[in-house]
């Protein structure tokens, strides 16, 4: 996961004060987020079975409601099982892994790409700026899901294609934000001073301009990360996202959709709750982060 919670901010002398000053809701959301990341990373050791190793599945255990006991052995299926006899809790742990991986990789790459193009646009001005910003405007005038769907329709499916589509959707937001703040910053005295000292433009851009453009960027990172998770889940639910061999939370929900009408609610419901918890937590932490940036800006 990208470092978004106050709890996972880089070590900083003021970081403990930041946590102390945060609202309880932000702290709880931060803890939920840290727990989700830990579960995703440690899924193979936390789960009672590998839900995608067919040898570990037992068809006798299929379609069991939550809390049922295992046919062989002493363990229980706390969240029930799916039609293959897969433990839903383990499946959710593994699904979280795929969901968070896809979202964090795409958000990170999109952030870097958007940062480079945004800085380039602000620095080069002229036709480079015009070309980049036209593309950004064109892209932002269409809903993200539409662009992602069309790209997947043309590129085909797979985890790499989904990540590519998410990057293509997200970079424009970052590019626009970086360009806007870089245009403001480059007019300031310290940039002029750096240029007067004879520093190379690249060094000014990366060493002086970029750090000062980061705060507004960091505020939209959580928003975009949550957006990426939702989008990936939606695409996978629609059957055009990740493949069956690497199911994400959206895919698990889609798998339970067929059994919903026969009353087996748990196959879809619990992965959905996990998804909503993660998205909600990221949004709340993002709000807290935004408040913090606003308050430090005013001080």
């Amino acid at each position: 996961m990208t470092a978004v919670g106050p709890g996972v901010m880089p070590a900083h002398p003021r970081s403990w004060r930041l946590i102390a000053a945060a609202r309880p809701a932000t702290v709880i959301a931060g803890l939920v987020l840290v727990a989700a990341v830990l579960v995703a990373v440690l899924a193979p050791w936390l789960s009672q079975q590998n839900p995608y190793d067919l040898a570990q599945l037992d068809v006798i255990d299929a379609h069991l409601p939550p809390g049922s006991a295992m046919a062989t052995g002493t363990a229980r299926y706390w969240l029930g099982t799916d039609p293959q006899g897969r433990d839903m809790l383990s499946a959710i742990f593994y699904g979280l892994r795929t969901s968070l991986l896809v979202a964090s990789v795409s958000t990170t790459v999109a952030l870097l790409f958007g940062m480079v193009t945004g800085l380039l646009a602000a620095f080069a001005r002229s036709w480079v700026d015009a070309a980049i910003m036209r593309l950004v405007d064109l892209q932002l005038s269409f809903p993200a899901i539409l662009i992602a769907l069309i790209l997947l329709g043309l590129l085909g499916q797979g985890v790499d294609k989904v990540i590519l589509a998410l990057i293509a959707v997200q970079w424009a937001y970052f590019a626009r934000t970086v360009r806007a703040s870089a245009l403001v910053e480059r007019g300031k005295d310290y940039v002029q001073a750096a240029a007067g000292l004879g520093l190379a433009p690249l060094r000014i851009a990366l060493g002086h301009l970029l750090p000062n453009c980061l705060p507004p960027l960091l505020v939209i990172v959580p928003v975009q990360a949550a957006h990426a998770i939702t989008l990936e889940a939606t695409l996978s639910f629609l059957g055009v996202g990740v493949p069956v061999t690497e199911p994400s939370l959206g895919m698990l929900i889609a798998g339970g959709y067929d059994y919903l009408l026969s009353g087996e609610y748990w196959i879809s419901l619990f992965p959905g709750i996990a998804l909503v918890l993660v998205i909600g937590a990221i949004n709340i932490v993002g709000d807290g982060l935004q408040d913090w940036f606003h308050s430090t800006g005013e001080r």
């Binding site: 329709g153 939606t234 879809s268």
Partner: protein, 322 residues
């Protein structure tokens, strides 16, 4: 006004041209369509014949020109799966999608505006806070999961409403509408509510922020001092002033509702063009994907153009600045 219109139309044509080039590249440059159209057992002679028939042996520029020529006649190729013209397939399903999107938009307005007004007038109260919490929830919850919960609750558990399909439709001027029959209305209710949720949250947020802003103004205080009833103050003086941003956003969001109906249509088996898009992506039916792309771009451009013109008409300052 005429200059604004002409410039906007010019920009729209440019965007459409870019999309046409992208669509062309999508069909012809990514993979050879012959591989999809001719059976793998075909020998070299048959492949050559098929390529000549499709004009694929011509230079790329000539191919593009003939592609644009066919595009101008509305010919976007034939669907691999349905064996029918791709554009016709998409247009056939447009009314169902529009019906769903427009109903969702109106629902969002009818629910969101009063709630937003209430939340804006008493932001500290319990109801105000509950409305604000609801709008945050509406932003966070993934649309498709809300759709599932709606089906789980109202179709499976209570059995009140159908879980999918469009029900009985009534033809009006060659277009079949479901909203005119009771059965069609019952089928429309859940998908429309699902699609409306996000926009309802958006309208609540806009309306409550606008109301809080307007309620502080001097002319509202003056209206109160004049002894006007609060019904008249809210209904006339506040509502009128918060409506301009809401109308604009609504216009712009109509396009995104049409795009988002892809998700809702898939969940509720609504026979619109969004469901067609998903089916076509799954079956690698590229001509239909491209036809959908061009139709949706056209719809977006028409909506944006209308919103801009409406805005310029509502607020003279905007037209003058351009």
């Amino acid at each position: 006004m005429v200059t604004v219109l002409l410039r906007r139309v010019g920009q729209s044509v440019a965007v459409l041209l870019v999309m046409a080039i992208l669509a062309f590249l999508a069909i012809y440059a990514i993979g050879n369509p012959v591989d999809v159209l001719v059976s793998p057992e075909a020998d070299q002679m048959e492949r050559q014949a098929a390529m000549a028939r499709l004009g694929l042996d011509q230079p790329l520029a000539i191919q593009f020109l003939s592609f644009v020529g066919r595009l101008a006649h509305g010919d976007l190729g034939t669907s691999f799966v349905h064996g029918a013209p791709a554009l016709g397939l998409v247009l056939e399903r447009l009314p169902a999608t529009l019906e769903l999107a427009v109903t969702a938009m109106i629902t969002a307005l009818l629910i969101g505006l009063p709630l937003g007004l209430w939340a804006g007038l008493s932001p500290g109260g319990i109801v105000g806070r509950a409305i604000a919490a609801f709008s945050i929830l509406g932003f966070c919850l993934p649309t498709f999961w809300v759709g599932l919960v709606l089906i789980m609750t109202f179709s499976v558990h209570f059995g009140w409403l159908p879980a999918g399909g469009r029900g009985i439709t009534v033809p009006v001027a060659g277009i079949s509408l479901g909203i005119l029959s009771l059965d069609g209305l019952a089928h429309l209710l859940l998908p429309a509510a699902n699609l409306a949720l996000f926009k309802t949250s958006l309208i609540i947020r806009l309306a409550s922020a606008g109301t809080r802003n307007v309620a502080r103004q001097d002319y509202i205080r003056f209206a109160r001092a004049k002894g006007l009833s609060s019904g008249r103050i809210i209904g006339v003086h506040i509502l009128k002033n918060i409506m301009i941003p809401i109308v604009t956003v609504l216009g712009m969001e109509l396009g995104s509702v049409i795009a988002f109906s892809v998700v809702t249509e898939s969940i509720f088996a609504w026979p619109g063009m969004g469901k067609l898009l998903i089916d076509s992506i799954v079956h690698l039916d590229r001509p239909v994907v491209v036809a959908y792309l061009l139709v949706i771009v056209l719809v977006f451009m028409v909506i944006n153009l209308l919103v801009d013109l409406l805005y310029a008409a509502l607020d003279p300052r905007i037209g003058a600045n351009r």
